[in-house]
Symmetry: C2
Subunit: 490 residues, 2 copies
């Protein structure tokens, strides 16, 4: 019996890992159970360990309180059972704010209280590309404004992305078939390395656990219920201790003809029951056609959904969803900036930027993606690589503005005829989008003084209005699209 601990000093919300050496008994994925109980004062947390190939078994844990923790393993294998120890959980470093949680119904904050505004992007199959392209994706992300990424565990068999990946989550290959009772440690080692790469950049990983873009090629879209749960338990055991993981049960769940609504309820609840860290959980819908009636959203009111992950092209709907669900609204697909033939993948940079602003000033969050035709089909939305569009730098500009606003900002429906985000009496951010008023009348409190700025959201120019304002005032506007108005109390 041997065990090894990487580090006995672990930051709060960082990853403690215990490696155990054991025997390769039968099919260890199925036949060996290993768990550990972690204790802190009166509290104990029981977590699953996992088999990592060869003679290696691991237990991972994310401590959420500073001080001394003890642990002890339990196993049906003697050499893995009763391994005990302690470690010290220390204060987190400056860039570690813990997992993202819900605050004030419709917003997010890290566990340490720092507000978190998701400005996400989408690279569904970036971890299934070659090493160089994966590295390129991380370099691009580093320069980007994005602090969340939607990405799939399973590989993708879909337009512009039909290559066979190097690694699969299960043992086997497309040619020889897959053994759905055995995982592939090499696949997960790469996934984990990529997750650590994202964490270093401050990017949350919105991990998509199931998706329809397999179409029977590998069979990962049609696992039986037992295999689905076997897979989820393994994923949670391996990845649950990564503080920046979110669970997205599916992308376009309604396009998976093999599953019905009770399956999605069961799978979401399974994750809820087995994740000791209560990571964020949601599920993303498809859109069949152009019209509102054909959008089949999951009922995000169900208690095991922490936030709404919605595909829809119209951010104005956010105001309705916000009231309806009383949960954060993340529009995780609002079409992609690009020029491919498909309707969902060919909006302009102006339009993507407009949709971001429209959603954000309605108190929602919008997710980016890019789909420009590329000679080698290196399209960001699927493979990662490079960004070619014009919206990313405008999203960076918006993110700066929003992060500089008071954290208590919310939509202000009392401001008529324009989405307005702010804190009444203190701060207002109007977004006019395609509308081009030549002036506006604004109602501000009497007896307080405000300064206003015209923001050209496309050219990223902020022009102060010289005259301080108070009470009911007329503001001259440029009479062109894509303008915001920021008003702050002096």
């Amino acid at each position: 019996m041997s065990s090894q601990v990487k580090d006995t000093r672990v930051q709060r919300w960082d990853l403690f890992e215990l490696e155990l050496t054991g025997l390769e008994v039968g099919n260890p994925y199925l036949d060996v159970q290993v768990q550990a109980v972690f204790r802190f004062n009166q509290r104990c947390v029981k977590v699953d360990g996992f088999y990592d190939g060869g003679s290696s078994y691991r237990v991972r844990f994310m401590p959420d309180a500073t001080g001394e923790w003890t642990y002890e393993t339990q196993s049906n294998q003697a050499e893995l059972d009763g391994v005990a120890g302690t470690f010290t959980c220390v204060e987190p470093e400056a860039n570690n704010h813990g997992p993202v949680r819900i605050r004030n119904d419709n917003q997010f904050a890290y566990e340490d209280g720092t507000p978190y505004y998701p400005f996400g992007t989408t690279c569904y199959a970036w971890i299934h590309q070659d090493e160089a392209l994966q590295e390129q994706t991380l370099r691009t992300l580093e320069e980007s404004p994005f602090n969340k990424i939607r990405m799939c565990v399973f590989p993708k068999n879909y337009s512009f992305n039909f290559d066979e990946p190097e690694h699969f989550p299960f043992e086997g290959s497309a040619a020889s078939g897959f053994d759905f009772t055995r995982f592939n440690p090499a696949f997960f080692a790469n996934l984990e390395a990529r997750l650590m790469g994202l964490r270093k950049l401050g990017i949350e990983a919105d991990l998509i656990l199931f998706h329809p873009y397999d179409k029977g090629r590998w069979g990962f879209d049609r696992l039986d219920a037992r295999t689905e749960e076997f897979y989820l338990r393994y994923v949670i055991a391996r990845l649950g201790a990564f503080r920046h993981v979110w669970w997205s049960l599916a992308n376009e769940y309604d396009f998976m003809a093999e599953k019905a609504m009770p399956d999605w309820d069961r799978l979401l609840r399974y994750v809820q029951d087995h994740d000791p860290y209560v990571h964020l959980r949601s599920i993303h819908n498809g859109t069949k056609m152009y019209d509102y009636a054909s959008v089949k959203m999951y009922d995000h009111a169900k208690p095991w959904v922490t936030h709404c992950s919605i595909q829809h092209w119209d951010a104005t709907m956010a105001s309705i969803w916000r009231d309806q669900y009383k949960k954060p609204i993340v529009i995780d697909e609002i079409c992609y900036e690009g020029n491919i033939p498909q309707r969902w993948g060919n909006i302009s940079g102006e339009e993507m930027t407009r949709r971001f602003w429209d959603g954000v000033t309605r108190g929602a969050y919008v997710t980016h993606g890019e789909t420009f035709v590329h000679p080698q089909d290196e399209i960001w939305w699927a493979k990662g690589g490079r960004l070619y569009g014009e919206s990313a730098k405008r999203i960076a500009f918006l993110r700066e503005l929003i992060e500089a606003a008071p954290t208590a900002c919310r939509p202000i429906p009392e401001v008529r005829d324009v989405p307005a985000f702010g804190l009444p009496g203190h701060y207002y951010l109007h977004y006019y989008g395609i509308h081009q008023p030549l002036y506006r009348i604004v109602d501000l409190p009497e007896g307080e003084t405000f300064r206003a700025e015209i923001i050209d959201t496309w050219n990223m120019e902020i022009t102060p209005i010289e005259q301080p304002m108070s009470g009911t005032c007329r503001v001259d506007m440029p009479g062109k699209p894509y303008i915001a108005l920021r008003i702050e109390r002096i």
Copy 2:
């Protein structure tokens, strides 16, 4: 007893008028009844006459069949009773196609079978402006692509339009009060002259019978039920014989707090019961806020509604409404091109043009309006006058294309990811709007040859694609917004 007939030869669908001289008995509007029965072969049509001030009573009639018609009056006044005569209905002139009717559920045609595609505009209160401005409006319309106009009978008391008009439909004035039992012939004479001006230009008059923009100033928004019907009967007697009149029961009916749904049903049915010519009938809704749920449309499925007159900003909804109502869909307010502070009145010319194309390629009809800030508040949407925007000439371009398409065109939902209007196997018009594909794959019948053209809907340029097409083909596209693709069988 004297009577006078303007012309005993009347074109089919033109206006026959019999003027009778009578006594001014009591209140002739209330106390004198005069009607006439018009007979043609086995058929008879009974119409109301009306008192026109002084000693003048008139009966108007629109004959719908060529040949000899006879008529005879009935009245509770001896001098107006039993006046009989004949007239000859002759073939219409080239520009007279009769009233507009419904064809094939979702379309319009004139009664002579000529297809009619409404490309309307909006000048709510143009007949309430001074003479010079009314004349200017007609001159502007003459140069415009518009073949329908939305206009109110009652004057308007609303932003940018608070002037007192010269004439009111009822006798009296704002200062002295109105006598709701007496009409004002001078008002109607002007209205009729303006209607004839429109008719000469081939413009249908979508006449708005009630509206909320009074707010009690004159009281026309809060007539009692008896007065409402008294007014409708007079309007029908005077204007029903104008072939180009449509009845729009209200603008933004739901903003008239004084009326409830049963009132609107009653008023629509009253018009249906009293109009011998079965003119088109509809009723237009308001939109309270930004979201779809707040739009309170009248139930256009009711049998007394001939077509849907809808206010909505999103033409994509047309596909749903078309299937839902099986009636023509006219989006009679989709926001206005302009730059006033109000959300509904400050979209760009690009956006107005886009909404037209989007609606039309979904098999709907869209109505224009313009609201540019003007030093004298001469804003087209209210007062008429001049057009300043950029959409009108693009709407002219669209109208030419649509009128040149086969009349059997309809939306083709089988064409994926883009609204397509056409006749499968013969003609296709795709509209890409904000979408900017770099290429498209189109499925055309094998064994037939087609020619395709790229249409820049903003710059109004049509660029033929050299290579004829057949079967499944790739079409290279410019990868920018506002592009249409037209494909026609050679």
